[in-house]
């Protein structure tokens, strides 16, 4: 008779999820599911609101990636106004997003995932966390916090607040930087670059030790999607959408992100509150694609900066074509941090960062608009329909994490099949399953717009409903 193992909640990710692993009568893994248990219900808050409030509203969906929502929402507003945003404002928005990607990836790697790599998947869970990391690798832990602070400080200098800065608005931004801001940022570039290079060398040195995990953590063929710039340059703000397959062959290119609904469908499954976007031409399930750092490196042709390009060349050796092993999200994340540091440094001499030409004003000129931004976790779309007074009639947010939903489910199944055989479930195996999800750095609060933590526990349940094992996390 079939059995079910639950991991509930999944630790060290943002939001609430549980993992159910279904065993067959021979105690072999039949299939697994990644359930998102948070209820998505924010949409009704948008109806009737003026679209110019949407950046501030949507930024409060989540405390982790507010800048991403601010940017995507403001860009949707730009479309509704039908304005050309002044070039200085575009550059400042780009700086903001680079800082956002940098700080988010720093938290993901150093705070949430590094304990697994550096302390071992089988180490005591009481120590396999940031405090264990601080005890064993104090300088690495401190460096990671400083790297995150660097990104957060840039965001605060631009927007006045670390979280939910109401600085980015439809038509442009509210303020620029001054000489002192630019000096502060420039002074911290060398350390930020060095920390990232060291973290990359550390991770690459550990890959051989985790060969089995690298092969089994979400290593399967799929499409990859992301924005690219002119000439296939790594892009995070303005660009076109590109899909590549698992061999890195281009499936679709030059797609307008404002027409995402033409090529991205959304399916709903009864066992999760997270929707499942897919590439329409291939249909649901076959159209599974991944977004985020791994996908962005797979779709681009160049990072555009020297050190990051060198790392990209090395990264490409990890796969025949595209890099399909989700374990390497972590390495991709660090390469993106390096690209962010290099790009920020390149921007600092641009006088436009101090410009006062920051905003284009207009009234409502279109009744439908889409904004797109590459959030740390992947491509984010905000789609608004408004009335003649600018009030929201309908809003749809396609969140990065949701676009990885199908891939996360497949990852859990793969890991469970690799490591579970029989009724005994060692702690390290459960953490590997969770770590597979953590590789995606999902933001479930964002995807489902939910509130804080709920008390939950782990159960192993027979198909007849009898609980045969139970764990508290």
């Amino acid at each position: 008779m079939a059995k079910r193992i639950l991991i509930d909640p999944v630790t060290r990710i943002e939001g609430h999820a549980k993992i159910s692993i279904y065993l067959d009568d021979a105690d072999q893994v039949d299939h697994a599911r990644f359930h998102v248990t948070e209820f998505r219900g924010f949409e009704r808050m948008y109806e009737g609101r003026p679209f110019w409030e949407m950046p501030a509203i949507t930024a409060r969906v989540c405390g982790i990636c507010p800048v991403s929502h601010l940017l995507a929402s403001s860009r949707a507003g730009d479309e509704l106004l039908a304005v050309e945003v002044p070039l200085p404002a575009k550059k400042l928005r780009r700086l903001n997003n680079l800082a956002q990607i940098l700080q988010s990836h720093a938290l993901s790697f150093f705070h949430l995932s590094a304990p697994d790599f550096l302390l071992g998947f089988d180490s005591d869970p009481v120590r396999r966390n940031v405090f264990g990391l601080i005890a064993e690798h104090p300088e690495l832990a401190r460096s990671g916090i400083r790297l995150r602070q660097f990104g957060q400080e840039i965001i605060e200098r631009l927007g006045g607040k670390k979280i939910h800065p109401a600085w980015c608005v439809p038509g442009g931004v509210r303020s620029s930087l001054d000489d002192e801001d630019l000096r502060w940022i420039r002074d911290r570039i060398p350390e930020s670059r060095d920390v990232t290079v060291q973290a990359l060398e550390l991770f690459k040195g550990l890959v051989e030790k985790f060969r089995q995990e690298a092969q089994s953590f979400g290593n399967f063929p799929s499409l990859h999607m992301g924005l690219v710039g002119v000439g296939g340059l790594w892009e995070h703000g303005e660009g076109t959408v590109r899909f590549v397959d698992s061999e890195r062959k281009i499936v679709a290119d030059g797609l307008d992100p404002r027409k995402f609904f033409d090529y991205i469908g959304e399916a709903v499954e009864p066992w999760s509150y997270l929707k499942s976007p897919y590439y329409r031409p291939l249909g649901y399930r076959d159209g599974m694609y991944r977004v985020g750092p791994l996908a962005r490196l797979n779709v681009c042709d160049s990072m555009g900066t020297p050190l990051a390009n060198k790392e990209l060349d090395e990264f490409r050796q990890l796969g025949a074509g595209a890099v399909n092993a989700s374990f390497f999200f972590h390495q991709a994340r660090l390469i993106e941090v390096l690209a962010c540091v290099e790009r920020i440094e390149k921007m600092l001499d641009d006088p436009d960062l101090k410009s006062k030409d920051l905003r284009a004003d207009a009234g409502v000129n279109r009744l439908e608009g889409v904004g797109c931004s590459e959030a740390p976790r992947g491509t984010l779309f905000h789609h608004y329909q408004i009335d003649e007074n600018g009030l929201i009639r309908k809003a749809n947010l396609v969140i990065a994490t949701g676009q990885n939903n199908l891939a996360m489910n497949q990852t859990v199944t793969q890991i469970a099949r690799e490591y579970i055989s029989g009724p005994e479930i060692p702690e390290g195996v459960l953490n590997r399953i969770e770590a597979g999800i953590r590789a995606f750095d999902p933001c479930l609060s964002c995807s489902t717009h939910a509130i804080g933590q709920m008390p939950l526990h782990v159960e192993m349940v027979r198909s007849d409903g009898q609980i045969i094992d139970e764990r508290q996390r």
């Binding site: 060290r12 409060r60 966390n129």
Partner: protein, 168 residues
């Protein structure tokens, strides 16, 4: 000391919560009210949720007060307590670490990473509703005023802080 800048403030008040979840906004609302009432040597911060980098600022102050909404299912008896104050200790159990940090874990980070954790308290203010919404309930609004004034009175003389704990 890493990331620590010279800061003359001795006191830090951090109010946190989701301001689009009705009374979950109690924490930030109380903090903002405290900011309008408090003496100049008090730093006030509001946040959607507590993040690890708050540890750097905590390490620079002597006293910290966290303010958050709490959720109870039992009806509140007349005259009984809607505010609870608990003394916090630094914790270094990060086994459930996510992007969100508990105040005790932040204190632990401040202590182990930056070498100092302030004396700290958590002020939990009971909320009445937590569904999607951008305004406080009438009772929550009343409690904001009461709690903010209570905290401000304590902040005017930091010696009082060592004595506070329990239901208010």
């Amino acid at each position: 000391m890493i990331g620590v800048t010279s800061n003359p403030a001795k006191l830090l008040v951090i109010g946190y919560g989701n301001e689009w979840r009705s009374d979950d906004a109690l924490g930030p609302a109380v903090a903002r009210r405290v900011e309008s009432l408090a003496p100049p040597n008090v730093l006030v911060r509001t946040a959607h949720q507590l993040l690890p980098e708050f540890a750097a600022e905590l390490a620079t102050v002597e006293y910290a007060i966290f303010v958050d909404a709490c959720y109870e299912t039992e009806p509140l008896d007349p005259g009984s307590n809607a505010v609870m104050i608990a003394r916090l200790s630094p914790h270094t159990d990060g086994s459930r670490a996510t992007h969100f940090c508990h105040p005790s874990m932040l204190l632990g980070l401040a202590e182990v990473v930056f070498g100092h954790a302030p004396q700290a308290w958590l002020v939990s203010v009971r909320g009445e509703r937590f569904e999607h919404g951008d305004s406080l309930s009438p009772r929550a609004r009343e409690r904001v005023e009461v709690v903010a004034h209570q905290i401000t009175r304590l902040l005017h003389d930091s010696k009082n802080l060592s004595e506070i704990e329990g239901h208010q």
